[in-house]
Amino acid sequence: MSDEMTLYLQVWRQKDSKSKGGFQNYKVENVSGDMSFLEMLDMLNENLAREGKDPIQYDHDCREGICGACSCMINGEAHGPGKKTTTCEMHMRHFNDGDAIIIEPWRAKAFPVLKDLAVDRSAYDKIIMAGGFIEVKYGNAPEANSMMVGKEVADFAMDNAACIGCGACAAACPNASAMLFTAAKTTQLSLLPQGKVESKKRVQSMIKKMDELGFGNCTNERLCEAACPKGISIISIARMNREYMGTLLKSDY
């Protein structure tokens, strides 16, 4: 909890997607507890640049926990030890002076490493492209109360819409399964009147795409839920399992 910390990092370094990577040790001094994890990496990168070395590549964008770009396995935990936080929201005050920190990229066959800590997460975009949208144009927001949606239903849809697609669920899953992501992205649409229409097609094609991309099978181990920075529950997976079973029994018309 001290203000000025010295940390010993073990960072995964990999030149490109084709080369074989390995861990490298770095010592970072004068780390303030008020820094975010990414600011600490920035500081290390500035030092590396000054020494003429290749800085550590990592993904980041908004740095306020809403874009889903940052992704690091920190000491074996997706997005680090904080609950419901992304890597950029993780403050260094969670660590102590002299701590050793292992930093790894997401590991999944469907998320190949591009360089260092940056991985290619376009597999999630491909799942969305398989049906995570509404095809019909609904125009402007409808007149209030013209389309009745229960409060609990709207809330649950909103909880699922909070998914930022960071990939922590698949990264934390022992099977590298993308079920929590796919469940969130089907649930947010299937529950609401506009999305219900295409729900059968959506859930079938998104699950099919998820399997094709090489993600593992869900075995209900709940690590995704614990790792999700947006607190999306495995209840969404149960809901998608139920919906998928329904689509196997229901006819189209």
Binding site: G76, P174, N217, T219, N241
Partner: protein
């Protein structure tokens, strides 16, 4: 076949096998009351012509469970990619998550146990006994020869502890896979699974302990 459909198969066959574990425990419990009751129950089972059909169905469902569980496990191992994590921790570690992460291993132990179990009992030493003029197999005598050997009793107890963990995750997992789970029932289902697993543990550990004590007397 989609990943979710494979889950349905593993879960449905698992539910059936759970019911088998329950039914088997009821039949076995007869050994605690009297050797005649136990032997007569066994005789009634094997002399019923339907037994071949039932045996076939149970074995088929068991092998389906094993086949799809293995398929899913191997797919999951390869889904991580060529390089695994150097360090990975579970943020929400508990008894049920331990049971979940060890499913393939507990399953393998149960498989080995079942093979031995069938060889040692169904195809084990054959004794005969006569009740009211009917000659039948005296399986009860075999029990009383088997369990007093400490290694047999301990091995049986270890296998049952392993089964408890397998059933613990399996039963809760069924509610999730079939989409029965809702946030308001989540805790309830976990407690039911915990209670059922505990029941399986207590009843199945009773048999070897009882058998061992019979031998000591």
């Amino acid at each position: 076949m989609s990943s979710v459909f494979k889950k349905y198969i593993v879960a449905a066959s698992g539910l059936f096998l759970t019911l088998f574990v329950l039914g088997h425990s009821a039949g076995n419990s007869l050994m605690l009351f009297s050797s005649e009751m136990f032997n007569r129950y066994g005789h009634a089972l094997i002399t019923n012509p339907l037994i071949y059909l039932i045996e076939f169905v149970v074995v088929a469902i068991f092998l389906t469970h094993v086949f799809f569980a293995l398929k899913v496990t191997f797919e999951n191992w390869s889904a991580r990619g060529d390089v695994g994590y150097k360090k990975r921790v579970n943020k929400d570690s508990n008894l049920i998550s331990f049971a979940a992460s060890t499913m393939p291993y507990t399953g393998a132990v149960i498989f080995i146990f079942l093979v031995l179990h069938i060889v040692q009992f169904k195809y084990g030493a054959y004794y005969e006994i006569t009740y009211a003029g009917t000659i039948m197999r005296d399986l009860h005598r075999l029990l009383l020869e088997y369990f007093p050997a400490p290694l047999n009793a301990i091995g049986y107890i270890i296998a049952m502890v392993v089964l408890t963990f397998h059933v613990l995750h399996g039963l809760w997992s069924i509610t999730q896979t079939f989409g029965v789970n809702r946030s308001m029932y989540n805790k309830l289902f976990r407690n039911i699974a915990l209670g059922f697993a505990l029941f399986v543990l207590v009843i199945y550990v009773t048999f070897p302990v009882w058998g061992y004590l019979q031998g000591v007397k």
